[in-house]
C-alpha cells in the first residue's frame, strides 16, 4: 500500500465547491439537469444550476407550505431568527469576502458589502416586532364597534434579485419580505450567483424554517415569466430588472392580480436600504369589526 505523502496544505489539490440551489431547506440540483457557467474576466467561475419551470413550481410549493407556520411564529421569534442569520453571516464573513472577490469585487468593496449585509439583517431583525405598531391603527368609527387594522403578510413573494449587488442586494431584499411572515422564492443574480448559494448555507443553519427562503439560479428572463404567471404567487419584488422585463412581468402578473414592487433602491445607501416601508410593501391591511355591546344601565367608567 502506498504511503500517504505528508504534503503541506499549500500543495494539496483544492476541493472545488459544487453550487446547488436551495429549495425547502435542501440543496438540490435542478431537476432539468441543465447548467450554465457564469464568467468573470473571461474565466468560468463555476457550473451553476439553470433552474427550470418545474424547479420554480417546486420552490413555490415549498414556500407556500412554509408560509402559514412562518407567519404564525411570534414576531419576537422571527426577530431572533433574523438576528441569528446576522450572527452566522458574521462568523463566515471571510468566506463571503473571498467569494465576492471570485465574482470580481475588490477586497475592500467585498468587506464593505459583507459588513453591510450583516448590519441590514440586524436592522430588519429589530423591525419584526415593531413595524406592526407603526403601521396598524385603531379606527374611531361612528358606530358602536371596536375597529382596528393590522398588517398581515401577503403570502408568497418572488424576488427577482439585484443584478448588481449579489449578496447585499439579495439579503437586504429578503429581510423585509420575510420579516412580516411572508415566504420568498428568490432568483439569484444571474452572473454572480455564488454568494447567493453560500448565503443559503447561512440560512439553513440559522433556525430559519425550511421553505421560508428558497433560492433558484438560472436565467432571469426565463424564470421571471414563470414566476409572474404562477397562480400561487402573491407578489413579485423586481429589483431593477430593466424596463422591458418589468413591463413583461407586470403584464404576466395580471392573471391573478399579483402585487408588483418595483424596488428602485441603492442597497449601499443606508437611507434607502433601511426602510420599514419595504416591510409594509409586502403586507395586506386587514380591518376587523367587533361590536361593542351598549347596555343602557352600565353607565360610564369615567
Amino acid at each position: 500500500m502506498a504511503k500517504a505523502k505528508n504534503n503541506s496544505a499549500l500543495d494539496s489539490v483544492q476541493i472545488l465547491k459544487t453550487y446547488k440551489m436551495y429549495i425547502g431547506g435542501n440543496f438540490p440540483r435542478t431537476e432539468s439537469g441543465r447548467y450554465y457557467s457564469p464568467q468573470v474576466n473571461g474565466k468560468s467561475i463555476a457550473n451553476i444550476c439553470r433552474a427550470s419551470p418545474k424547479d420554480m413550481r417546486n420552490a413555490v410549493v415549498a414556500a407556500r407550505s412554509a408560509q402559514p407556520p412562518w407567519a404564525s411564529r411570534t414576531a419576537y421569534n422571527r426577530s431572533q431568527i433574523l438576528y441569528r442569520i446576522a450572527e452566522m453571516l458574521q462568523g463566515r464573513s471571510e468566506q463571503f469576502v473571498a467569494e465576492l472577490q471570485i465574482q470580481g469585487l475588490k477586497t475592500q468593496d467585498a468587506r464593505i458589502q459583507v459588513q453591510a449585509t450583516i448590519d441590514r439583517m440586524i436592522y430588519y431583525s429589530g423591525w419584526c416586532d415593531k413595524f406592526q405598531q407603526l403601521f396598524s391603527s385603531v379606527n374611531p368609527v361612528a358606530s358602536s364597534h371596536f375597529n382596528f387594522s393590522v398588517l398581515e403578510p401577503t403570502g408568497v413573494v418572488v424576488l427577482l434579485a439585484s443584478q448588481t449587488s449579489p449578496l447585499l442586494g439579495l439579503a437586504n431584499a429578503i429581510a423585509p419580505i420575510i420579516a412580516s411572515g411572508n415566504t420568498c422564492v428568490a432568483i439569484a443574480n444571474e452572473d454572480q450567483p455564488l454568494s447567493a448559494i453560500t448565503f443559503c448555507e447561512v440560512l439553513q443553519t440559522s433556525d430559519l424554517p425550511p421553505g421560508v427562503v428558497n433560492v433558484l439560479t438560472g436565467k432571469l428572463d426565463e424564470l421571471m415569466t414563470h414566476a409572474a404567471k404562477h397562480l400561487d404567487v402573491n407578489a413579485i419584488a423586481a429589483d431593477q430588472i430593466g424596463t422591458p422585463n418589468l413591463e413583461a412581468v407586470r403584464a404576466d402578473a395580471a392573471g391573478n392580480l399579483k402585487r408588483i414592487a418595483d424596488l428602485q433602491i441603492d442597497w449601499s445607501d443606508d437611507n434607502q436600504a433601511q426602510n420599514p416601508y419595504l416591510i409594509e410593501k409586502f403586507c395586506e391591511v386587514k380591518t376587523t369589526w367587533h361590536p361593542i355591546e351598549q347596555i343602557s344601565s352600565s353607565g360610564s367608567g369615567y
Binding site: 368609527v141 361612528a142 375597529n147 403584464a251 391591511v285 386587514k286 380591518t287 376587523t288 369589526w289
Partner: protein
C-alpha cells in the same frame, strides 16, 4: 288559488316623495368646472330600474372629451391645486361634505330613482357615509406627513377613477375625497346606469367653489373608462368593479408608470358557529347577502353553518326571508329594491339556473312583484358543493349559497378556498374563537358578529384577486401619494 303566499303582515304604502328634487332632462360632461356638451358624443337614457321609465339623457363621452377632461385636470394640478395650501384644500373638501349633508334628502331620492336601491338604504347609509367620507379626508389634507412617519408625501398628479353602479355617490366620495385631499386632481367616470348623483355632485362641487378642473366627470360606457386608463397623461388609476376588468386594467397599464389601486369582486364567507347568538346571526346573514339586492362586492354570499345548528339556522333564515318586503324602492318599508339593470338581472337569473342544474336545493321568497322593472326576490341554495359555480363565482345579486361544516379547521379551509379575499363574517359568542377566526380569514375586511358595516375611518379593500390598495382610514391615503 294564487301560488303567492300572503305576507306575514301587510304594510301600508309609505312612499318617499320626489317632488323636491331638481334634475335636468339632459346632462353634459363636467369638465374644467363647467357642464359642457360632448364633441360628437351620443346620448343615452338613464332609467329607473323599478319602472323602466327614462329619467334623463346622459352623454356618451368620446376620446376627445376624455382628453379634454385630462388636460383640464393636468392644468388645474399644475397651475392651481398643487399651489393651493393644504389647509385650503381641506376647507374646500369640508364645504363639499357640508353641501352633501344639506342636500342629503335630494341625493338619496335621486340615488334610489336611478339605481333601484331602497330609499331606507340610500337615506341612512349611502348619502350620510358619502358626506362623512369627504368630512374625514378634508381633515387629512394638512396633516399628511403624520400619516407617513419619516417621509414627505407628494401627490401623484392626475388620477383617473372609475366607479361601479352599486353605491354610486358613495363610491365617488371614496375616490374623490382622498385624491383631492392629497393634492391630486381627478377625472372620474361613473357607471353608465347610475350617473346622476355623480353629476349632482358636480353641481355641489361648483357650489363649493372648488377650483375648475380639480374634479372632472365624464359619463358613458366601458369604452370611456378604457380611454381614461389608456390616456398617457394620467398618473394613477383607481378602479372599483369586476375582477375581470381589474385584470384588464393591470395588463393595459403594464407598460406605463401609472400607479394603480383596484377594488374588485368578492365571494365572502359568512360563518356561523353553533355557539353564535343565532337570532343576531340570522339578521347578519340577511344583511350580509340581501343588503342592496346583493349588489355588494363584500356581500356574504357563501354562508357556512356548523352542522349542529344547521336546521335551526335554516328555519329561522327562511322565516326571516319570508318577511322581507320586495318592491318599490321609494317605499320606506322596502327591504329589497330593484335589480340595477336588465343585464344584471339576466346574469343573476343565469346563476340561479346554474345553481339548480348543479343540483343544489333552491328556496326563494314568494311575493307579488311590480309589473315593470327588474326584480329578483331574495333566495338561497342549500346542498351546495364547494366546487359548484354558485359557490365559486361572484353573482352580485340576492342569491346565497349555503354550506355546512363541522370543525374550525375545516371551515377555515373552505372559507379561504377562493381566489377572492375581500371580506368575511364570523358569528360566535366565544371571544378567543372570534380572534382566531378573524386572524385566519384571508380577507381585507372581517366582520365579527356583524356584517356590512362601513366607515370613512375604516380601511376597506381586498387580498388576492379582490384587488390591492385600501380606501378609507389612514391607509387610504397611501393610494394617492408617493413617499
Amino acid at each position: 288559488m294564487s301560488k303567492m303566499k300572503t305576507s306575514l303582515w301587510k304594510l301600508d304604502p309609505a312612499p318617499e316623495s320626489s317632488d323636491h328634487i331638481s334634475l335636468e332632462s339632459s346632462y353634459g360632461l363636467f369638465i374644467d368646472g363647467e357642464f359642457v356638451e360632448s364633441e360628437g358624443g351620443d346620448k343615452f337614457a338613464t332609467i329607473n330600474p323599478a319602472t323602466e321609465a327614462p329619467i334623463a339623457a346622459i352623454t356618451e363621452a368620446t376620446d376627445t372629451d376624455v382628453d379634454k377632461a385630462v388636460k383640464a385636470a393636468r392644468l388645474a394640478y399644475q397651475k392651481v391645486w398643487s399651489k393651493t395650501s393644504p389647509t385650503d384644500r381641506g376647507k374646500y373638501i369640508f364645504r363639499i361634505a357640508r353641501l352633501i349633508q344639506e342636500k342629503a334628502r335630494e341625493l338619496a331620492v335621486i340615488e334610489t330613482l336611478d339605481g333601484g336601491k331602497p330609499i331606507r338604504e340610500s337615506r341612512d347609509i349611502d348619502i350620510p357615509l358619502a358626506a362623512a367620507h369627504f368630512f374625514y379626508y378634508a381633515g387629512w389634507a394638512d396633516k399628511l406627513p403624520y400619516a407617513f412617519p419619516n417621509r414627505t408625501p407628494k401627490p401623484l398628479g392626475v388620477a383617473g377613477q372609475i366607479i361601479p353602479w352599486n353605491f354610486p355617490l358613495l363610491m365617488a366620495a371614496w375616490k374623490i375625497a382622498p385624491a383631492i385631499a392629497c393634492g391630486n386632481t381627478v377625472v372620474l367616470k361613473p357607471a353608465e346606469t347610475t350617473s346622476l348623483t355623480a353629476l349632482k355632485l358636480c353641481e355641489i362641487i361648483q357650489q363649493a367653489g372648488l377650483p375648475p378642473g380639480v374634479v372632472n366627470v365624464v359619463t358613458g360606457h366601458q369604452k370611456v373608462g378604457a380611454a381614461i386608463v389608456d390616456h398617457p397623461d394620467v398618473n394613477k388609476i383607481a378602479f372599483t368593479g369586476s375582477t375581470a376588468v381589474g385584470k384588464g386594467i393591470q395588463t393595459a397599464i403594464a407598460a406605463t408608470d401609472k400607479s394603480c389601486t383596484l377594488e374588485l369582486g368578492g365571494k365572502a364567507a359568512n360563518i356561523v358557529f353553533d355557539d353564535a347568538p343565532i337570532d343576531q346571526a340570522v339578521e347578519g346573514i340577511i344583511n350580509g347577502i340581501y343588503f342592496n339586492q346583493g349588489h355588494v362586492c363584500c356581500a356574504g354570499s357563501r354562508l357556512f353553518v356548523q352542522e349542529s345548528v344547521f336546521e335551526e339556522v335554516m328555519r329561522k333564515l327562511k322565516h326571516r326571508i319570508d318577511t322581507l318586503n320586495v318592491g318599490d324602492p321609494m317605499d320606506k318599508n322596502t327591504d329589497v329594491g330593484a335589480i340595477n339593470s336588465k343585464k344584471q338581472l339576466q346574469q343573476i337569473n343565469q346563476y340561479i339556473e346554474i345553481g339548480k342544474s348543479e343540483g343544489a336545493d333552491f328556496y326563494q321568497l314568494q311575493c307579488d312583484l311590480p309589473e315593470r322593472g327588474f326584480w329578483c326576490p331574495p333566495c338561497l341554495f342549500t346542498g351546495v358543493a364547494q366546487s359548484n359555480r354558485i359557490a365559486q363565482e361572484e353573482i352580485f345579486g340576492p342569491v346565497l349559497a349555503v354550506q355546512t361544516f363541522r370543525t374550525v379547521a375545516e371551515v377555515i379551509k373552505k372559507a379561504n378556498n377562493t381566489p377572492y379575499g375581500l371580506s368575511a363574517g364570523v358569528w360566535t359568542d366565544k371571544g378567543s374563537k372570534l380572534f382566531n377566526m378573524t386572524a385566519q380569514m384571508r380577507a381585507g375586511v372581517v366582520w365579527a358578529n356583524t356584517y356590512n358595516k362601513f366607515d370613512p375611518t375604516s380601511p376597506f379593500g381586498g387580498y388576492k384577486e379582490s384587488g390591492f390598495g385600501r380606501e378609507g382610514g389612514v391607509h387610504g391615503l397611501a393610494a394617492y401619494v408617493k413617499i
